[in-house]
Symmetry: C2
Amino acid sequence: MSKFTYSFKEGNANMRSLLGGKGANLAEMTNLGIPVPQGFTITTDACRAFFENDAKLPEGLMEETFTRINEIEKETGKSFGSKDNPLLFSVRSGAVFSMPGMMDTILNLGLNDEVVIALSNKTDNPHFAWDSYRRFIQMFSDVAMGIPKYEFDDILDDIKNEENIVNDQELSVDGLKKIVNKYKEVYKKYIKEDFPTDPNRQIELAIKAVFNSWMNPRAKTYRRLHKIDDNLGTAVNIQSMVFGNMGDTSGTGVCFSRSPSNGENKLFGEFLMNAQGEDVVAGIRTPNDISKLKEINEEVYNQFLDTIKSLEKHYKDMQDVEFTIEEGKLYFLQTRNGKRTAKSALNIAVDMVNEGLLTEEEALMKLEPNSLNQLMHYQFDPQALENKTVVAKGLPASPGAASGYVVFTPEEVKAKHNNGIKTVLVREETSPEDIDGMILAEGILTARGGMTSHAAVVARGMGKCCVAGCSDLRVDENKKIIKSQSGLEIKEGDIISIDGSTGAVYLGDIPKIEPQLTGNFGTFMSWADNTRKLNILTNADNPKDAKNAREFGAEGIGLCRTEHMFFNEDRIKNVRKMILADNIEDRKLALSKILPYQKDDFIGIFEAMKGLPVTIRLLDPPLHEFLPVKKSDIESIADDLNISYDKMMDRIEELKEFNPMLGHRGCRLAVSYPEIYRMQTRAIIEAAISVGDTKPQIMIPLIGDLKELKYVKNEIVDEINLVFGELKTSIQYEIGTMIEVPRAALLSDEIATEADFFSFGTNDMTQMTYGFSRDDSGKYISDYIDKGIFKVSPFESLDKDGVGKLIKLSTELGRKGNPNIHIGVCGEAGGDPDSIEFFAEVGLNYVSCSPFRVPIARLAAAQAEIKINNSK
Amino acid sequence: MSKFTYSFKEGNANMRSLLGGKGANLAEMTNLGIPVPQGFTITTDACRAFFENDAKLPEGLMEETFTRINEIEKETGKSFGSKDNPLLFSVRSGAVFSMPGMMDTILNLGLNDEVVIALSNKTDNPHFAWDSYRRFIQMFSDVAMGIPKYEFDDILDDIKNEENIVNDQELSVDGLKKIVNKYKEVYKKYIKEDFPTDPNRQIELAIKAVFNSWMNPRAKTYRRLHKIDDNLGTAVNIQSMVFGNMGDTSGTGVCFSRSPSNGENKLFGEFLMNAQGEDVVAGIRTPNDISKLKEINEEVYNQFLDTIKSLEKHYKDMQDVEFTIEEGKLYFLQTRNGKRTAKSALNIAVDMVNEGLLTEEEALMKLEPNSLNQLMHYQFDPQALENKTVVAKGLPASPGAASGYVVFTPEEVKAKHNNGIKTVLVREETSPEDIDGMILAEGILTARGGMTSHAAVVARGMGKCCVAGCSDLRVDENKKIIKSQSGLEIKEGDIISIDGSTGAVYLGDIPKIEPQLTGNFGTFMSWADNTRKLNILTNADNPKDAKNAREFGAEGIGLCRTEHMFFNEDRIKNVRKMILADNIEDRKLALSKILPYQKDDFIGIFEAMKGLPVTIRLLDPPLHEFLPVKKSDIESIADDLNISYDKMMDRIEELKEFNPMLGHRGCRLAVSYPEIYRMQTRAIIEAAISVGDTKPQIMIPLIGDLKELKYVKNEIVDEINLVFGELKTSIQYEIGTMIEVPRAALLSDEIATEADFFSFGTNDMTQMTYGFSRDDSGKYISDYIDKGIFKVSPFESLDKDGVGKLIKLSTELGRKGNPNIHIGVCGEAGGDPDSIEFFAEVGLNYVSCSPFRVPIARLAAAQAEIKINNSK
């Protein structure tokens, strides 16, 4: 027979998966000799058995439970349901991961009309006894049985009005008795049964309620969002009650061992005397700061301080405890690692290393890499947010907080910017033409597009706040108006605020907190750098981003996209001419006019990254992305190229594609028009020579075949040699390839023979490996997540099973084909901690991510290394 | 030192790659004891060395050549350049594969002003000698040195005019001498050197000319078209001359051992007495039928007959020989396997088995599977074609010959068809809405789209003649006019003829030859069926195709697409309502109206395939393909669904995708709207139950993940069980999946655990593995072919290296995950012989192809099996 229950004395902190976090901690504390009210835990196995058994408690569970209760009765001398010396219990859920949405706590279980009298007699405190009873009925009804809370609040208010009092504390015993009776009536109205008087029945119902709460919608949603497996189940903790409301020598409180907001090494907590747990947070009485306890009971305070510090030492982490003092005796009801802000986490980690409590490696494991985001971006002041209503919610595409006037075009952003006015650029979706506006706006809000849409990717690259795919909103760019599904209208010139970390949209301006990269940040990151093996490069397309990234610790550029450079006002016309030319002379002429600009671009970037590698990807997107749309633009180009407007329209029509993602782009352009890559190569090499101390890495996108690579590489090398000849000098360079086409991954042994490096483009690779269009998949991937097929979109976090298998295979084959090759990632996944762990395991040499993710990647890479070493 | 030359006595037929086809055959004949003029072959190694050496003859080659000449001089007693008893040579190219575009033949090499006199004296035939000389100069100048032929023709004509004669034969010796002098002047004019008088110099120049001709543009184009490696190189055959023009006991001719047009076992050839080779084909004198030779010289005739029959026996194939009779002595100059029509090939193969000359397996290897196409489709009468001009050329998308009135819409096809008028449907490109028109038209001509465009795929499926991607033409569907680049205009109502086997477009009607599937066809195919292991299924979407395919030998349906069924007039409105519904009730209502039609579709198909497996693919294409475009259609649907026109337009807009190929399609639709697949499943199962004796195989497209498959399969199984319950019966069925998404291939071990079968969709797989959009890639793949990166589009013939690697991996993993799984192919490659060979090697269970390719696939599968067995 299974063992479904563990006494606190039997368990320990390593048994989380069986006993849940809370149960394991209570057991651990018990075994540490910390005063914990006695109790036991029903295992998560029992919960799984419950769901496998059609929501019936597994056989033997209740028998075991009663045996445990007997044990506690023996030790305490109290008795469950006793009319002399009653034993009461609290019942709490306890999942492996702390999780809101589940059943919280039922206190005082075991009370009934007779036991309450015993309690009253025993404590000589009828107020306490009846107050406990009415609380129990309410909690049981509300928490376990799902009866609406307002029913009980209304009764309480009625009686308080009758008695003409404000505080619950002042209720008369008679009033409490009345309340108890009315509460029972409510129970019967909803449940069609009398309130259960049998304590054994009470505990059985409570256990079922905890189990059922595991599957309530809020809990399920939470698990989906946090990628927690539905199959883990929850444990149930049953613990004998101690009372903080037994008079003035009793009390209760909560406390952090250090500050959860800034990490200061000082107790941070509150308590109330003569109160039960919920009173502390209810806000009716004002709790005391924890320091006040010293005045009230110095002995207890010192015991408390010693215990919390020993817990901190034991758990090697800042603790969040609940405690109760029953008639002068201190009990710890719970301890757990305290939740904290990123700032607090960072400071605590560094302090604990200094205090000798943690090793550097242990400290590195304490921070969720993504939490560093909070340190690097503006945040809305939490207090200011309290009065704000979220009017729409999109995807948290790029973290930060921004407020500004609503505008709909990049031109308008620029105009306002010139007048010193802050703006939020709102678009149905952005396109490369919006870049200038995106740079100058405070933030970007789009109605369409996912976490990897153009707006999202570009904004993250810039560290610009962005809310994308806000499907509540319809953006009418012509009428310059946003309409929400609820009927709200936002017009050009209205002020909005957007939170790129949550996806929330607010009306009006909201005060913000500045990013603070304190001294501890540098210390902490240097530990990460000493630990990690992966190099962290950045994706940067301009000198500003490059400088930013370098400050964030980037060790070079892993992806410099050249296409954005083509949209600049001064050159777009020649870019268009280049595309629309129907002969090589016209194309070369147009390219020759773009060359000086490109060279300047690269000079700026090489200077910003002097001494570090810079990987430049040659032109990648389908040419038609650059096509003119406006009639006047088309006419002007037709004139310049000396062909008719109709012929020009024909050519534009010809360039349209059904599936541009799989179309004429990347190195395919260079096969058709080698002169484009030649111009870019020339610009790169001339710039590198003129800047000096740089080693350009030329990256060819979308390679799928060895012969294709040879052809394109040959053109590039030939051009490089031409430049060397003309300038009578030479420099070091490398030529490598993106690996994004599945075929290239499958044939990496061949391809590696002609490549100095590989760079996985995880976005395109995911698109082709899954057959999911990044631009279109938002619509259906949400169905996949709703139906439990996916936990997360493969564009958000690398699909390790499929795309990962291909990356692993390609890496192995690539190293076989060329033992000196260096291999990395430059797709979105390069900045995702979970994916970085995978890349480290596969043994890649580097990841490249957007500048603002560089510190995150540095930490994630360090953590990955630690995990790898620990698993050895 | 390399050995660059082989005497005919040294070589044999197995040395083709070194000696070329002609050289290997001459050697083989020599060693068979057949009278062949003595000679030797310069190897293809020498040719490769020539090109590696900057087009210089490799060291030692000429020395070896002269040694060989010495040997021949010794054996013949003649001497090269001799003024007494001169030895002359022919020089011919000889590649491994017979190949037009290369240097042909130079005869009489070794002649000069002195040798010609020796020849004249020796033969006592000055006319012959001088005629040989002037022919030599002309051939050498034209063939070896590239001097325009008209220069020589003009001179010849001038002298003939002077002498007032018609036939070359009648020229006076003086006339011939004049011609020789004038020819030499032409030579000097072009080459800036005197005509080379030194026979050694002549032979060196001729060898170089042969080598250089390997790289001439026509030869390169031919190789590209026929996928022949540029590196093979050509051999050079140098053979002592024998003369058919030494008088009335001399002659020359060509002969097939059997009829190349119908295979009849009877000599088929022509000869001329007192003539050299070119006279037979020049058409100036009318050659005699080979039977006439018996009358002229019975001994020679009998020797000829014996020899050609022994050659046939030796080569186990019909022979095409060139022969010369020199003063009553018979020489064979060449033998090779004769080119023949498919009809001839088939009849010869069957006859030779009956004659005991070939085994059945050997016979099966004699036919190029694709050549069966000729037997199954209408062909233009070759004689009628002679007077016809090709006005445009597109891709030979679906074989056959068709003539009819030009129309531009499917409606017009139907209208004309109702009046018994034949039409050719001309479209910019076809879409699924054109199906009805495509069925009724004689042929289809499109201006855009490749070999796997909609028009091409559908036409091949129907066995309908189609020329696709005829980019010479601009089709203006509004003005109902076709314009060609040359300015030609074709209007609605004009008659055109199109040849789907060549891609040619002609004006006017052209007589056609009917397909003939004679008795030998059945015999031959039964041998193929006994040999092959692969099952051959068909792709068929309607009962007519299914019946057709069954007649062609299909063993079931491997792919029945259901989407085409949705376009039918009676149902498209409900299909659209289904798509545009924004709630499940409206969608279910619309689906319930489609259900009876779908059921009828399946009943028809199951009946046509009774007793055989039928694999039905559930809905695959993106829904927006079905969307209404016409305003009236949109309004009517909006009315029916009770929503506004604007809202309907919004919904249509919402459904648009950037990359529909990677969009919301296939099983992704079923994840979002499981009710669609449920309706289809119900239709399939109800139909199967009502027809009986059928085992439906339900195929889920675009699966990429095990959980996704489980989800969709679960819906299908649930619906099947509902139907079983309602009808109180059950039948056998299977549920399998397409493997087309690379991820599914990579994770086939997992996926196979839930699949009864796999079917590779090679088109989609190629799209995703290469990242090539099938609809767009035509534009750039042609650049890849031009630049030698690809030999052939991966959509035409399976990319074995990349996509093939994935198929192999998936097959291995699939069998590991489910040892009972059956695995096949239903993409375009399923009908491509080259790909079929690969599928057989990988060990697939079946291929499925369009009905008209079923016999081709049967033969290809048999050949693959034979090759596999031979290589064991």
